[in-house]
Point group: C2
């Protein structure tokens, strides 16, 4: 299967490296995957992968038009702009798309899903939520037999690192954030993480798959961790617990509710003790009960693991609607 990779930051470079390093393993597992072309802004940057046998394309839009490409991997980022243009063009040109772009999927996922489904193409985004932990696959497939009543998780490693260091080292919020920035766990402009928007994007995607609704990030009440103080953390500790930023989606008799906010986590809660940049999600199903999955939530390698898992599924011929129930309905209405 012939692949183009658009974007060669940490994630894109790790995808190329993974496909080189584990090529024989992947062939044995039923997926012969070859990167034929890549595109990024700066050709001169040193990267963790070998690009000697890969064609460099200056304009990422050109990847969507190539006849020799079956799948476009989009790891440019951003809800709009080049990423959205490229993905739209790729689907219009009959290419499957694999992306890690949570903002784009949370915002434009339904429109892109419709485009994919009308052409019977795959639009896959396991890497958009929880790094290398196959959370979307667990929801869509592993728990496919269950009516899901809730998804509840620590979805942002930056916030979890800051809150962990505030609790274990007694750091003030600003000091913990500065440390996270020094270590590369937080961006120079940390707003998307710290103010909860990244968590809201991921929750919107999880809730869409769990409950069969359209992702609607604009409707999610979102509170970040900027106002969490040392006094709050100490007060939580005095009650035997801690504070974590959670994305919470629930379905009960009153309907579906979604919110992002800092929450008191008591000792004994499965989300207690999830420290540092780890992500963890608890999913509750009517037959499977409470399932917890956890793992490193960010980083080039773990994100590449999820992207290549999506590629393997496509190579194996496994097809599914981008948004489950909704996808089925979309397809019906488009037939």
């Amino acid at each position: 299967m012939r692949i183009a990779v658009a974007g060669l930051g940490n994630v894109g470079a790790a995808v190329v490296r993974l496909l080189q390093m584990n090529k024989n393993l992947l062939i044995a597992r039923g997926a012969d995957l070859t990167v034929c072309a890549v595109s990024a802004r700066d050709k001169a940057i040193a990267r963790s992968c070998d690009l000697s046998s890969v064609e460099w394309v200056d304009d990422p839009h050109a990847l969507a038009a190539r006849a020799d490409i079956e799948v476009v991997v989009e790891v440019i980022g951003g809800a709009e702009g080049v990423a959205l243009e490229l993905v739209t063009a790729a689907l219009n040109n009959g290419k499957h798309v694999v992306t890690a772009n949570k903002a784009m999927i949370a915002t434009h996922g339904i429109a892109l899903a419709l485009l994919a489904e009308t052409s019977r193409l795959q639009l896959s985004f396991e890497a958009a939520v929880c790094g290398g932990v196959p959370t979307l696959k667990i929801l869509r497939e592993g728990l496919a037999a269950n009516r899901i009543s809730s998804v509840r998780g620590i979805l942002n490693g930056t916030c979890n690192y800051v809150l962990t260091r505030m609790a274990t080292e007694g750091l003030a919020f600003n000091a913990a954030l500065a440390e996270a920035q020094r270590l590369g766990y937080a961006e120079a402009d940390p707003a998307a993480d710290i103010d909860g928007h990244d968590t809201a994007n991921k929750l919107a995607i999880l809730a869409a798959l769990a409950f069969g609704v359209a992702p609607n990030v604009a409707s999610i009440p979102t509170k970040g961790i900027r106002s969490v103080t040392q006094a709050d953390i100490r007060e939580a500790a005095s009650r035997g617990g801690t504070i974590r930023l959670l994305g919470i989606g629930k379905r009960d008799q009153l309907g579906i509710t979604q919110k992002v906010e800092p929450v008191f986590i008591p000792n004994g809660d499965p989300l207690f003790g999830i420290n540092g940049v780890t992500n963890a999600i608890q999913i509750s199903g009517d037959f499977a009960g409470d399932i917890l999955v956890q793992g490193p939530g960010a980083g080039g390698d773990v994100t590449a693991s999820a992207i290549v898992a999506d590629l393997v599924d496509i190579a194996r011929g496994h097809r599914g609607f981008a948004f489950g129930v909704l996808g089925a309905n979309l397809q019906k209405s488009s037939n």
Copy 2:
């Protein structure tokens, strides 16, 4: 898709009930599943499902021969006997098979996989390991891009319950076991659980998928928890940890090692704090890092969740080799 269920204990009855309760949900998710025939020893027992619209068949072997059945669900149990006869006959007659039977898969899995693959049929057994937690799917698909270096887990709820109660209540082994039996967490003859054989069966399956080897339960050094004393538990607690029965599979430069034994778990280990009948598995991949999954490991409902997930995969047309790499090799050698 037309299904027969062989065995109507807790698990079989829960499968029938799930397919009735969540029928519309499953149809919306792309799987229209109907139980057409069932078989069990005693028709008169009160069960948790409605059998009024299902044909009762006295001889389970007859299910394998029916022209109107596409998938046989085997939940009779036992490595040999009726279960093995039925599964063999079903595959010979062109039926897909879904089973929860860890002993049969660990012992006869390769022979059955060969039978399935030569006829391009699905042999699925997610329910054999870790109840409703989709561990095999995570290994085969979610982490398909990874070279797996270890799988390590609490795979038997009975043992974990006994060890938990020994630690939290100060019970002697025999008293904790008697309590587990009273509560239905341990069988009247607890040997298969307590002596580690159930854990070894599950580990053999996990290791086969993780490392691409044949399951070989006879080769796994297996030590159960019968000889764990209160003194051992107190000594572990004095070092800030606890004791758990683990199944451990590793691959390093020296090769693959597998073992089942009680292990000291320090506070801070992701498997510390996994209490009662919960199962938990840590999987380490070269790109995804350490993933931990946990959930209720046994019971009719959770096992039914895994069985129906396998049925949904078949209905969606997702096909895969029963034993991954090995399956691909098997298929090559049989062509």
